[in-house]
Amino acid sequence: MTRAAADLLAATASASGTATHCPYCALQCAMTLTPQAAPGPAAGGLTLAPREFPTNRGGLCQKGWTSAQLLDSPERLTTPLVRDAKGAPLRAAGWDEALDLVAQRFGALRQARGADAVAVFGSGGLTNEKAYALGKFARIALGTSQIDYNGRFCMSSAAAAGNRAFGLDRGLPFPVTDLDDSEAVVLVGANPAETMPPLMGHFDPARLIVVDPRRTATAQAALDGGGIHLQPAPGTDLALALGLLHVALVEGHLDTPQRTAYRRERTVGWEGVRQCAARWWPERTERLTGVAAAELRRAAAALARARRAHILTGRGAEQHSKGVDTVSAWIDLALALGLPGTPGSGYGCLTGQGNGQGGREHGQKADQLPGYRHIEDPAARAHIARIWGVTPESLPGAGRSAWELLDALGTPEGPAALLVMGSNPAVSAPRARRAVQRLHALELLVVADFFRSETAELADVVLPVTMWAEESGTMTNLEGRVLRRRAARTPPPGVRTDLDVLRGLALRLGRSAHEFPADPGAVFDELRRASAGGTADYAGAAPEHLDAGEAVYWPVPEGADSEAGTRGTPRLFLDRFAHPDGRARFLPVEHRDAAELPDAEYPLYATTGRQLQHYQSGAQTRRVPELLAAAPEPYVEVHPDTARRAGLGDGDTARIVSRRGATLARTRCVPSLRPDTVFLPFHFPGDGAANALTNPALDPVSRMPEFKLSAVRLERADGRGTASREEAA
């Protein structure tokens, strides 16, 4: 049986259960939800079982296994909440009251201060249908240009670099299963062993080259299995890529007839990049990055000698004020080796959020219209305006990027009201204290969520919405494969879908019912038409194909044929890249320092990331008792010497201070850490919020904040200094 046929069987043979996918990350592990025969542990009346699927191969991590436990959580919101005045508590309200209030206030603000007085903040966790409807709602119901989403904090640098190099951005331009046969996989700033665990099953640890300032679980897996871990100083991955390219160049790895022909026939710009790389000889690279020249040579040889190889970037490379150039440097290395568009090899980025891929294609980004179209492109505006039944002139232009939007809230020039859907920026935005302050300054904050997240706690109106197992729609996973999300149970009374909420608001704002259907099927039909002819073309992704379990990868134009259960474009760029001349672009890039470097006052690098048990801001996973028990509190990883100098022992509460704020975390001494670097997970709110420290210095191209590098100092939370401790000793 072919793999595709097996998928088909797995998808359809679940007569008794509902075949759907995990609510969390972009791997979208397949699972089956079956009504529980006998009352068991609280899991929404459902039994959850992993399902065989190419991406997760029948596996689930602890987050996936426990995901259904949230459905009947006592903290679940089942009624709208309204705050009568700033400072008053949130009180229960009816749906009509809440929606009337929101629509009336949005309308009044718009009338008084113009359409851009109302802003929208979306999410990479929303289904394609919701992302599409949210973008449409902003542009035609509110008429605002002020919409962006948390994917800006996630995928924007890789997306910009991919567009620059290939003319198109799809996280993995090949199926995940291609990785199984790869002879060398470079993971740059990605820690799938914690963030996407079942993906690890596709890697042979001996063939992994992990680039990370920390010895992460992924790096450790590589080392244990005979692979390589390169441990650069934070903020130096760009130079490391050029250093590897230099070695590949001078050791003759790039002179093979195949690679020479590839560069000549499929790319432009090699000479400029070659000169950039020539300047990063191993010893110079070593001095900046701290990666030994010998290690650099070993890694370059392992990569260059592989017959099939992949370079994959993650947030560690991308969340910098030079994130786009950093990704470009790694793409340059991949192009020099002839990987992209070659069967069995490639470059890709590991998308983070569940619908981080689809969420960046359908118009909830400040500068984008559905189908990955640009909002300033007249042809794109005309096409979308026609689908929406409006004039192109009535569509707003590009708005502020996520951080710039949050930073402007409640200021004289910025929006006075904000609708948040599927996001928790009070925890996930950089410089979190400032973000909270800006949210506070709004005249009206409306949050649609299923829990009282930290952002919902600040809201004036909270709208309770359905969870993943209670709704239908589509998600696009990290491979650009369109998947079906299916409802497995009825939502609790009092809860509405996000689509229903948008419809209710749109109607009250004067739009007509047919423009905002609540039925996800109807929205998907419109999305397919809107995306037709665009970069991310979904026109041929008919629901019956998806329901039949076909593997559908965009672009999938209308009429695209199915071959052995696969439709659309599983592998991009095999014949040509998406630039008009069909060639990929080498981009000459140069190292530059981070916006903030350690100094005498803030002598350490702080970097942030995720831990296995929690997902993003933790609004969901912190409410799962089993996950909270395993990972109950914020911690800071510190080299034992660095901890000792700060007067801290393992388990002590540390205060970590940056120019933007301070946070508290339990000290975890980690001997493999660089002594100049500390690490904090960003899943925790309030006093333990890692994002209190982070720097909203933005990449000039992607507007990605510099989450991965801030200068901090470390001290005891009780204020007892090192000196007094030493005197006492």
Partner: protein
């Protein structure tokens, strides 16, 4: 600022070109600074550091091309012959007078040619210093081409190239020539090579490593005469037969223009303050012509950053406060890093404890394996080090030293870069502690698996069903199977020859 500052740079070497690049980066439209770079060489500021790579054949001349050139005028093949400080103009060899608001001297250094009979031919141009048959330096692209020709001719007839001077450049060039397939002997007057950076035992170990990679050495001897067609006469009366002679005898700052126009010049070069300003406030100098440490590129590059920040107004108060001294030998097969000052008169053996303010010195000598490591600390700061054959340690230590960060308390790990033990531990069974994480994907510890066993899960499969271990990426399947086998062996209640009878869960 109403008008762009008119800056003329004399010298288009690595530092002059870098200044141009750093300026453009800060002022891409040349709104604040209009910079003209004048270079005597016919090509731009190629990368001198990579000349040995050109020699070994691993790089091409294009790879050594100047750092990115922008819109600003850049004149190659233009020699400056004089400076009129009163009129604020420079005179070029082709008779032009170019005005400046600020002048930057980046004239670099010249090969210091030893007073050795036979090196110069009558009437030779003294620029590269040496044009006698078979003799060259290695400072310019023209030198590199010349050396490559000499080397190829020598290789063709099985002859040898003599390298005079066993410093960094001499050794890198020698190693590159060997890589090109040429026999090489380095002649050095001191008892060991790189004696400016290395103590005697380190020098001896390096000598061994060089020998292994094919670089022959004649140490403690001085050259007395070059005889073209024959070789190099040495002061012990012997003759080293050689078809070519490469001079790597150091460099001295090129201060001719500065001296002519009356700027203050010290023994090491043009005198500048920490703003890189000479005794004339409108004239700056940087790089080898103003620095006491010729041969290292890092200081010049950092100076270029400081001066660009000042000229463009990005940071009018920028100061150059020095560059940590790090020398890294670029020779394939040899990993050597020297930092700071590794020479100590008192290495702690005289009875001084570090608490007395004396240095703390650690040393490992392992000539058999060509390793030598020496660490000098004052308090918890590294002030000098020699690391040969311990590449991991070198990388980490240089980072520490560059940042002036305190040294870790585990000095041996610092010095040897020895691999840290894996944090997970490779053990299974009894040796594994109960809290050890077996399945990371599902947070399952050995203790949890053991409890599940005693609750009735009597196989790897049943353990998986009970705890979800192995159900994530599957990477721990082997470990869980081993644990199941160990539990079966050690569990008094389970018999190895009867299958488990517990019902599936």
């Amino acid at each position: 600022m109403n008008r762009a500052l008119n800056v003329v740079v004399v010298g288009n070497g690595m530092v002059g070109a870098r200044l141009h690049e750093e300026t453009l980066r800060r002022d891409p439209t040349s709104r604040r600074v209009r910079m003209t770079v004048l270079g005597a060489e016919p090509v731009g500021g190629y990368n001198r550091v990579l000349l040995p790579g050109l020699l070994s054949g691993s790089l091409t001349e294009a790879d050594l091309a100047p750092e990115r050139c922008g819109a600003s005028p850049l004149a190659t093949g233009t020699t400056v012959v004089g400076i009129d400080r009163a009129a604020r103009t420079v005179a070029t060899a082709d008779g032009r007078q170019l005005p400046y608001d600020r002048l930057v001297l980046a004239t670099g250094a010249r090969t210091a040619v030893p007073p050795l009979p036979g090196l110069r031919e009558d009437g030779a141009d003294g620029d590269s210093g040496a044009s006698a048959r078979g003799v060259t330096a290695l400072r310019t692209l023209a030198d590199a081409r010349r050396l490559r020709r000499l080397a190829d001719r020598a290789r063709a007839v099985g002859a040898r190239i003599a390298v005079l001077g066993g410093g960094v450049l001499g050794l890198e060039a020698a190693r590159a020539l060997v890589a090109r397939g040429v026999a090489v002997t380095v002649v050095h007057p001191a008892p060991h090579v790189m004696d400016r950076q290395l103590d005697a035992p380190a020098g001896r170990v390096l000598g061994r490593a060089l020998h292994r990679t094919g670089v022959e050495q004649r140490l403690g001897v001085t050259a007395v005469r070059w005889e073209p067609g024959k070789g190099l006469h040495l002061d012990d009366g012997s003759v080293l037969p050689a078809a070519g002679l490469l001079l790597c005898t150091g460099a001295r700052a090129d201060t001719a223009l500065a001296e002519e126009c009356g700027l203050d010049v010290g023994p090491a070069g043009i005198a500048v303050d920490d703003t890189l300003t000479t005794s004339d406030p409108d004239i700056h100098a940087l790089g080898d012509c103003a620095d006491a440490e010729p041969g290292l590129i890092q200081p010049g590059w950092e100076q270029a950053g400081v001066l660009a920040a000042r000229l463009t107004g990005e940071d009018p108060y920028a100061r150059y406060l020095g560059t940590p001294r790090v020398t890294r030998l670029k020779a394939a097969g040899i990993e050597l890093a020297c930092l700071g000052d590794p020479f100590v008169t008192d290495d702690g053996l005289a009875g001084h404890a570090p608490a007395d303010g004396g240095p703390e010195v650690l040393r490992l000598e392992d000539p058999t394996r060509e390793r030598y490591a020496k660490l000098v600390l004052h308090g918890d700061r590294v002030t000098g080090a020699i690391l040969l054959g311990v590449p991991d340690a070198a990388a980490g230590l240089v980072q520490l030293y560059d940042k002036g960060a305190p040294a870790p308390s585990d000095r041996l790990a610092l010095m040897l870069g020895r691999a840290l033990p894996p944090e997970g531990g490779g053990e299974t069974g009894e040796a594994l502690p109960d809290h050890a994480m077996v399945c990371r994907c599902n947070s399952v510890t050995k203790g949890a698996l053991r409890s599940a066993w005693y609750d009735g899960a009597r196989s790897a499969r049943e353990l998986a069903d009970a705890t979800r271990a192995t159900t994530g990426c599957g990477g721990c399947r082997g470990a869980v199977e081993k644990l199941a086998a160990w539990l079966a062996e050690t569990d008094p209640l389970s018999s190895r020859d009867t299958p488990a009878t517990t019902a599936p869960r």
